[in-house]
Point group: C2
Chain length 578, copies 2
């Protein structure tokens, strides 16, 4: 893994690929690499869909190795949703495969000279780019079936659905899972629209004939990996909760603590929560012959994924994540799990971010377009997005635009990106992350829910402002580093709680690269990444005033605890003071 593949989509005669040594980017992976390229090469004031923006797809530092949990991939660019820098992270197979093929990153750049659509095939022999207008407007599932027929089933794919082709600001970049289904998505920030603006429909990868990446010190690496896996297995979250119930284990927990945003962030508990909880979902999955425990990429030992079958036992969608179940469920007042699963499938198929679209539908419900709880109306709205009708175009542009278009005041966004499944009033630490992350409202950027609610890695009172700034700061730094390694963010539960697991993680990196990285080194990496990102955003016109929640979170009391978001603006401005 020592070269960067650049595809100039504006080259004469069609897109042209050039691989070159990583150069000054050597030693960077995942988010550190995407943010370095975007921050260094993309003019911050450019149009996100224009010639000057780039789409960067980068496996992590440990992707393609035998290390557990190392299959996450980062996608970066200037976000069509936020106008700022964006790294969206996904599981699936392409991270491992791209790394084995020796690429640190794929960079799509330039401006197409025609409307023609292209597919890219990469294997051990090189890169082949082919014009293929027969792929136009294919949903992701159909597209992947077509790719399988063409390239066999040893492949994995990176693709966009119709939403990406239509350049919608909530469009995702899809990654296929171990079963070659387009179920994993770099969802946030509309990077699928950037891929769409480059007229690249799909990148097909085949690492047949390429070995697993060899560590500098194989013995030490193997030993560290073993201790790392043991640590993940013994921690209650990564060893029990997540494997048993998936991320949706959180529905009952968040509902219980009153931090579950219901009816477009109007209250913290949902009557229908039990019906859509992880516990109920796992039971249904098992009963119908689906899988409640499953990995989203090879090398995963946490196994928080799954498969969700319909009533007849046929595959409907992958096990929906907690945030998806919330977005299309409680936040819209919907408690029909089969319909939520259908929405998950449709989102994956059309290629739209489940969080953004769920939050958007709730805003549309507040605008009077449908009643809260009307699952069929919500499903119809997703079809409108897929078809690109005027209403679908609005919804596909995200919650902020939908709020603006329909004149709705209560729109839960920061930097134009919708808040996920944790109310910032009842979980004030996540509110600090929403407000200040360079990514816009993003729970994964600094998951203070761990300390605020789960009491993992610390204990900070969720309902009070005290301690939240320091907590979010430390988490944002750690996250930026982990997102650069290709490691699944869920290792943080074990790593934050168990010093020996953190050490095993460090040992893996050191054994693989021949480094002597300490905890301080990880912190430095995280700070470096955040600094690059914030520098880009500053040059794009972002100020401390953009590091704020919408003002109603400061005034509107949130039941059952009747809390407002009480972290002061002055304190928010201290998050990145280190």
């Amino acid at each position: 893994m020592d070269k960067i593949l650049r595809i100039d989509v504006g080259a004469e005669g069609g897109p042209k690929a050039t691989a070159a040594p990583a150069g000054t980017y050597a030693g960077l992976g995942g988010r550190a690499l995407t943010s370095a390229i975007v921050s260094g090469e993309v003019p911050p004031l450019c149009h996100p869909l224009g010639e000057e923006n780039k789409l960067v797809i980068a496996p992590g530092l440990l992707s393609g190795t035998a290390g557990a949990q190392s299959g996450r991939i980062s996608v970066g660019g200037k976000s069509p949703l936020t106008g700022g820098i964006k790294e969206a992270n996904s599981g699936g197979q392409p991270s491992q495969v791209l790394a084995k093929l020796g690429y640190n990153a794929i960079v799509l750049e330039g401006k197409p000279t025609s409307d023609d659509l292209y597919k890219v095939f990469i294997n051990k022999d090189g890169v082949k780019i082919t014009q293929d207008n027969s792929l136009r407007m294919l949903p992701n599932y159909d597209l992947i079936e077509k790719m399988k027929k063409e390239y066999g089933d040893k492949i994995c794919c990176i693709s966009i659905g119709p939403a990406g082709e239509m350049k919608m600001a909530s469009a995702t970049v899809a990654f296929t899972d171990m079963e070659l289904r387009p179920t994993r998505h770099a969802g946030r920030g509309g990077l699928g629209a950037v891929m769409g603006s480059k007229n690249i429909k799909v990148i097909v990868l085949d690492s047949t004939g390429m070995p697993v990446r060899p560590p500098k010190d194989p013995q030490k690496f193997q030993d560290a990996n073993k201790r790392f896996v043991e640590g993940l297995k013994k921690h209650p979250v990564t060893g029990q909760g997540l494997p048993a119930f998936g991320t949706n284990v959180l529905t009952n927990i968040l509902n219980e603590v009153g931090g579950y945003p219901t009816y477009n962030f109007k209250q913290g508990r949902f009557d229908g929560a039990a019906k859509i909880s992880g516990e109920t979902m796992a039971e249904t999955e098992t009963k119908r012959g689906g899988r409640a425990t499953h990995g989203c990429h090879s090398g995963c030992v946490i196994q928080c994924s799954g498969t969700y079958n319909d009533k007849d036992g046929h595959f409907l969608t992958k096990q929906p994540e907690y945030e998806t179940v919330w977005a299309h469920g409680g936040n819209c007042g919907i408690s029909d799990m089969d319909k939520i699963a259908m929405m998950d499938f449709l989102d994956d198929n059309y290629g739209v971010d489940t969080i953004e679209l769920g939050a958007t539908i709730a805003v549309a419900m507040d605008a009077g377009l449908a009643k809260f709880g009307d699952a069929d109306a919500a499903i119809q709205m997703i079809h409108e997005v897929g078809k690109g009708t005027p209403l679908g175009r609005i919804l596909g542009s995200g919650a902020a635009v939908t709020g603006k278009v329909f004149g709705v005041e209560r729109v839960p966004v920061v930097k134009g990106q919708a808040m996920p499944a944790y109310d910032p009033r009842a979980v004030q630490g996540i509110g600090v992350t929403y407000a200040t992350s360079p990514m816009g409202a993003d729970h994964t950027a600094g998951y203070a829910v761990a300390q605020n609610v789960l009491k993992v890695g610390g204990d900070v009172n969720a309902l009070r402002p005290e301690g939240q700034v320091e907590l979010s700061r430390n988490l944002q730094i750690a996250t930026a580093a982990i997102d650069s390694t290709g490691m699944c963010l869920f290792i943080a539960f074990a790593v934050l709680d168990q010093p020996e697991t953190f050490q095993a993680f460090l040992d893996m990196l050191n054994a693989f690269y021949g480094l002597e990285l300490t905890g301080d080194g990880v912190t430095e990496l995280g700070k470096k990444v955040l600094t690059m990102e914030r520098d880009f955003n500053a040059r794009a016109g972002f100020t401390p005033q953009h590091d704020r929640l919408p003002s109603y979170f400061k005034t509107e009391k949130f039941a059952p605890h009747n809390v407002t978001f009480d972290v002061t603006d002055g304190d928010l401005d201290k998050v990145f003071t280190w």
Copy 2:
């Protein structure tokens, strides 16, 4: 004129009006007053449609007097379109009438407690506010007819159409003209949506029984006014061009110099220009029994307004302004003057900004929704806005949102507001104003077209960056001051060219208020207004990066002169260094 009328729309039992002395706002009028109230009382990060925003309607310092040209009115608030401070300026009768009634300003504030719609009636006896849901979704013309039946024909009105009720970001506040037609609009920035968010449909004014405001020194005032009128009459622009052909005299001029943005800002000349020029329009108007020379408010001596009849000689709309003819005409490739006039009428009737909507339709045409030149499709789009269909909601949200929703890169906006009828590449001075005005792209904020093209008040090469920053700075300062006096901005042509007319203008102010204002005092007033506005915007999160044109104006050459916008970012940042 010594009191401010505040209407608390959130009062128990319905909106409640309270008049109080102007206090610290005494001595301010028009834009100086709206910007002082907005900057001082509205939290810059509030939602434009929320409780904390205010709609301020203020006549100018000389409104309600016997002074010529003093009937302009300012409307201010936080803009739903730009997110920044906004002053939108209009002609019509309400400025004179409101001033005679003794009000420095009407301020709509608070948040309605129900969905009920209200009308406000103000006369010499006071203020009466009545719930009237029969007005819901009435277009402006129908609304005014209803008000006439109810209150007689001595009234004038300030109102919103369906667009304002639907809280669209391009909604206007309409003001009736001397014929009691809703033809004059505070168009830019969507302040009609703010009025809509306060549930006030119409403010009916009747100044019967109230005298013209008396000057401190009547003789001096009368003498100054006489010299002022003489100056306006003798200047070729205000004495000949504008009265004869209206503002649309500019079509041929801008087309000739290659600065007429055609087909969504793709080229600087339009084949169909002659068909929609002011000369052709005036001829048609006269032939059909309309009026080519007419004033938009009592006291106007420039008479650049008019009436446009249909082929059968029936009133169709007021004489469309140059920017309207451009927006719905050349910019959309349309050269059918009757259809452009119909669009002008529909915009007035639904209450949407002609510039924003015309620019938006051109963006929609670039997105493939209709062909350039298809007038019927454009008219249909306006009806969609009026009906509030999903497509109409998109278009009514303005060019920036429409571009985002349809994934269009070439969107000519600054701070989210569409550029008017002068291309910033071929008229670089206006480009500096577009980029830097706190209002977003706005030709009236510093009309460098005067010196760049018309060669009035100076001569600065339109195609070169040299001298444009200083020019725009001086014009923005002068404009901010003039907009505070209630004077029509067109006095600037005569005032900038003829020192004696500028002196007459000063003498009018001094004689009326007993002041000893000099030219420096006017400059200080202008600087003070701009400083307040920029301070609000800074607190709302605006930075120098927001004082930029979209990047394609710097790279895409504009025919026939094949110019790009060449004023550097560094120079743009010097506009407000004084």
